[in-house]
Symmetry: C2
Subunit: 653 residues, 2 copies
């Protein structure tokens, strides 16, 4: 049902974009005012598609896994994002054309120029250049010019290796590459500045006096972390558990490009799954262990290669290619979700981040990348944020963000115990006594062992507290020896596995994957959305404007609405063929025609979009069949094998 029934015609991005604009799936925002790069509005079909995909996301993740959904503030005090590391590190490298002042994202510039050189080399060697769908003149202008210049074999190899790990370079490294490979401003040929860091958050200030700086959140995650204690309590203190959030985030991209793929404002759906760092297994892992994924580990990319590995998630975890069961479980669930909404599974891969490319908070990360006419694009990230976020917020605010678990049986440990003589301690260190005492109380066993050596051998040890050194002589210590300590409670900071979905990117990739051109007659575009996510499920078409059809139409429409099948009546004067063509473009999977026979015998025809085949049955039967197909309980293939095909004499396309 979701794959088109005929060989797809070669993909034509310009034609797809025209269709999406004409039918108002989405459009550049503020275009009356000349538009703003990276901001888009969704029209009725795009908005409905998004709502259906989010609804499925909620069922697939939140309900199925009993997650705790929250809805948090977008405006965020600067202090929170300072602590989380975003103020210092959530940035890209930008550089400037030194004469025109035009601004580039440094990695994109290197990528564009080297790709253009490789294409130029291919032309010089008479090899075919891979079509990128870049037929749009405006876009072509932005890309680096392709000139037919043959490269040295060695140079070509170097360029390919750079491109394979383009996401792995720091700003200074990108500057080094630009100098070494003589990369200039693509249009002007002018020199380019050294890359400088640019923070991607939109800044504002809160309150009437303007003294309270804030940022628009760049991800929905921080709101979830800050509510960790409340959520754990809401979950009756049980572990593991997950919170989830669907909402808008903002990134002030240096150079938004590629339509919905790189924008400044976007809807995300994020899950924060909290686990015991000692138990990253997953209760339902066995259900998915045999599921096969196409993966691209970091180690392969670091060799300058991009070959995919097909492997079951069970084997990948066993071989430690994927670190743990929980991460593996979510990779499969992500893949299942993408497939369910209509993404072509052959065009999904999981790519592991390389060390430099990883976000500052992540210790491991796998991206679900979807193949589009722009290449492989990250659409879902699945990061192991370890205990990073809870730890930094806890350290900053002094609030414990931990799980306390009663141990199944008490834990008895031999531990070094250090007790100070308060009577002497106070007079000796005066106002600093408390700080030194607190410091000593906070030391781990390993440090204590070291101090104990000095204590035993030299009669004193030194500690550095807040920039000063204190000599702690043995007369200050009443006890410094091993003792048996019994613990009933284990306290730990949970680790976080975070699947994070860029909804706009997924929607765009989906629209590319389901698009094809019907070759019969005048070529016309079709969007073969699966019924589950199609913006409208059914079109109702009266054969003509004859008033006799109206009561039947109203009845069918009401019955469908009651069954939760969204539908639209098209009683415009256009021919039925033209109405169906409009509908192909809107991706409506089913069409019902009401004709004179309907008025007489209560039957209607049901037409399926991709095959254009029809059946004819009683109204009630058709409504039930539609409901089942739209809920994913049966398919057109099943139905068309059971009911006889109907060839209408009245309905000509």
């Amino acid at each position: 049902m979701s794959t088109c029934p005929i060989e797809p015609t070669p993909f034509n991005r310009v034609a797809l974009e025209q269709l999406l604009g004409k039918r108002f799936f989405y459009a550049p925002a503020f275009s009356l005012y000349g538009g703003v790069a990276g901001l888009y509005d969704y029209g009725p079909p795009g908005c409905a598609l998004q709502a259906n995909v989010l609804d499925l996301w909620r069922k697939h993740f939140v309900l199925e896994e009993d997650m705790l959904e929250v809805d948090c503030s977008i405006m965020t005090p600067a202090e929170v994002l300072k602590t989380s590391g975003h103020v210092d590190r959530f940035s890209d490298w930008m550089c400037k054309d030194l004469k025109t002042g035009e601004i580039f994202r440094a990695d994109h510039l290197v990528e564009n120029v080297l790709e253009a050189r490789i294409d130029g080399d291919k032309i010089a060697r008479n090899a075919p250049v891979e079509a990128k769908g870049e037929k749009d003149e405006k876009k072509k202008k932005k890309a680096a010019k392709v000139q037919a210049v043959r490269l040295e074999d060695e140079t070509l190899q170097t360029y390919k290796e750079i491109l394979a790990q383009i996401d792995n370079y720091s700003g200074p490294e990108l500057g080094e590459l630009m100098r070494k490979h003589l990369i200039k401003s693509p249009e002007t040929g002018n020199d380019i500045s050294e890359p400088v860091v640019f923070n991607l958050m939109f800044a504002s200030s809160i309150g009437p006096t303007g003294q309270y700086p804030g940022f628009l959140r760049p991800e929905t995650a921080q709101g979830q972390f800050l509510n960790f204690k409340r959520l754990l309590e809401y979950n009756n203190d049980r572990m593991p558990f997950a919170s989830a959030q669907i909402g808008r985030s903002f990134r002030n991209e240096i150079s938004p490009r590629e339509g919905l793929l790189r924008v400044r404002e976007f809807t995300m759906a994020e899950i924060e799954h909290y686990v015991d760092p000692q138990k990253k297994n997953h209760a339902r892992f066995q259900e998915v262990a045999d599921y096969k994924l196409n993966i691209l580990p970091a180690s392969v990319q670091l060799q300058g290669k991009t070959d995919l590995m097909e492997i079951t998630v069970g084997e990948a975890v066993a071989k430690k290619i994927i670190d743990n069961e929980t991460l593996g479980y979510f990779l499969v669930r992500i893949h299942q979700f993408l497939t369910k909404i209509g993404i072509n599974p052959d065009r999904v891969r999981f790519r592991q981040h390389m060390a430099n490319e990883m976000a500052h908070y992540a210790c491991d990360c796998w991206d679900a990348e979807i193949h589009t006419s722009y290449g492989w694009k990250e659409c879902v990230g699945c990061a192991d944020r370890s205990a990073y976020d809870l730890t930094v917020h806890s350290n900053k605010t002094g609030e414990k963000l931990v799980v306390r678990e009663r141990l199944p049986e008490p834990l008895v440990e031999e531990k070094l115990i250090l007790e100070v003589n308060k009577k002497v301690f106070g007079p000796r260190f005066k106002k600093n006594a408390k700080a030194v005492e607190d410091y000593l109380a906070s030391l781990d066993q390993c440090t204590l062992e070291t101090l104990k050596e000095a204590h035993d051998s030299k009669g004193s040890f030194n500690v550095d507290v807040a920039g000063e050194t204190y000599d702690v002589t043995n007369d200050l210590i009443t006890k410094f020896e091993k003792a048996s300590i019994t613990t009933h409670i284990r306290e730990y900071t949970p680790n976080v596995i975070e699947p994070s979905f860029g909804i706009g990117r997924i929607l765009y990739a989906l629209m590319e994957h389901v698009y094809w051109i019907r070759p019969e007659g005048e070529q016309r575009g079709v969007l073969s959305f699966p019924p589950l996510v199609a913006p409208t499920k059914c079109l109702l078409v009266p054969l003509s404007n004859n008033e006799a059809f109206i009561p039947v139409l109203n009845r069918v429409s009401a019955l469908l609405r009651r069954s939760g099948v969204s539908n639209k009546v098209d009683d415009s004067g256009a021919s039925i063929g033209r109405r169906y063509a409009r509908n192909d473009e809107l991706g409506t999977p089913f069409g019902i025609t009401v004709d004179f026979q309907s008025v007489q015998d209560n039957t209607i025809t049901l037409r399926e979009r991709d095959s254009t085949k029809q059946i004819r049955e009683k109204i009630e039967v058709i409504v039930d069949l539609l409901k089942e197909m739209c809920e994913g309980k049966t398919t057109w293939a099943e139905i068309s094998s059971k009911y006889p095909a109907f060839v209408s004499q009245e309905v000509n396309e």
Copy 2:
């Protein structure tokens, strides 16, 4: 079902707020960092409640009325909001304590101080002071101090009249009131500055160079207006039609207060209904004409009164109290929506805005106000924005935002026609010739009549174009006379009726309306949400941790999920009574108990929250009943009259 079965205990806001915090309906955002006034996070039950209310909103408005839903950008270029008038006029008046620098919203300050004086007067007269639920110490501190001082009768009357129209004063008028009535800083008694204007939009800047100023949208409306042309086309050029949008908006309130009622970031649901200004009737008005509303027209308020008028919407429109049918139709639909989600209809009124209070874009406005412990609060605005927005954007951008309608029969009019002699015109006015010509072409009939007089009598007329005066002598004119003009197309700018919902305010009012305290045993709070909007529909409780119950529980849970009835299993060790108490607080309308009998005979008990009554039937029967109640197709009252009450021996509360 939605009203509590017993006399409500006196409303206790502190207890409600404790419950809402404890069960994480919502909580102050960033509280780990000390919090930020006016920013809140919704926890799992609040988030689910909001999702259910929005889902109903979508069904009640978007689907039922076939509206075009869009999802637009929040970040908005400054130019757009300059044109819409928000940069210049979307503001409140603020004033400062001249010594401490504390900032107040000027109207709130006057209101607080006068209300405190009236309360003080009541104490001095030994009259009861209306309880406002202000038991929270922190809040009390912020309010003006109440001192038992008796006022002159005349002063008391003046204060009441001021308060009745507090929303109608401009900044200078508020300053005048403060001087006249000696209003000082409530806590310090210091003098207060004159009110100054403060723009309520959050500012930011877009792009890497920081030269492109933007604001976070203060309403979702502008995105809809800017897409008017696309939407009209999507609607096959048919009128009237409506667009709708659900999304976040931002207002940098001077002093956020009253919990969810005045916040800096909030979810809105807005409808822009486009109508022909000559046909503001509504096709479905007759369906609602007999619906009664409680209204408070502007004329009554201007007399310093707040008496409500109960009137059918048909009569209110006939008497021109409500301007037109479309406005009246939406007031009823708003009232129906509020009642459906559980708002007490006796605590809803429609208040018309007074002239000064109206937003800059509105020509008439009715607020649906809901009564809460904070008084009557605007929760839905229903404004007639006339052609304001489309006109200003069209004028600014030069893009026609109009409807073109083929007239049923051609319109023939006698019109004055002015034609210039281009051969003479050019040489005479040189580089300004085009501007003068364009100006003449743009003139309306009335102006042309005046010029024609001078043309006929003096042999020339003067026009002012771009600051210069031009003498247009008769030799420049080839034709200036009446002619018969036939028009086939009528072109007009539609008017906009805008129902605009503050979702957070509605949710808070709802939580107040459905809250009561169960008097039996230890007092415990109940939130009697109607099943349609309750965060979770059904609690599943096994009698104990016995493993025999697990398969039955799983089966019931799966059946309910398949029927779309959200449910939670509570298999914690707590007593059944305690589990039901927790559930009362979460507002879950139904509870199912699985006991040993269930394992034997496939029956379960179903308990209703408000009555605590139970019935016992086969699993399949109970699941069907629940589905029907949660979809609003039947009620507990109907069911409990059909099925025998079950009194459990095993389940003690």
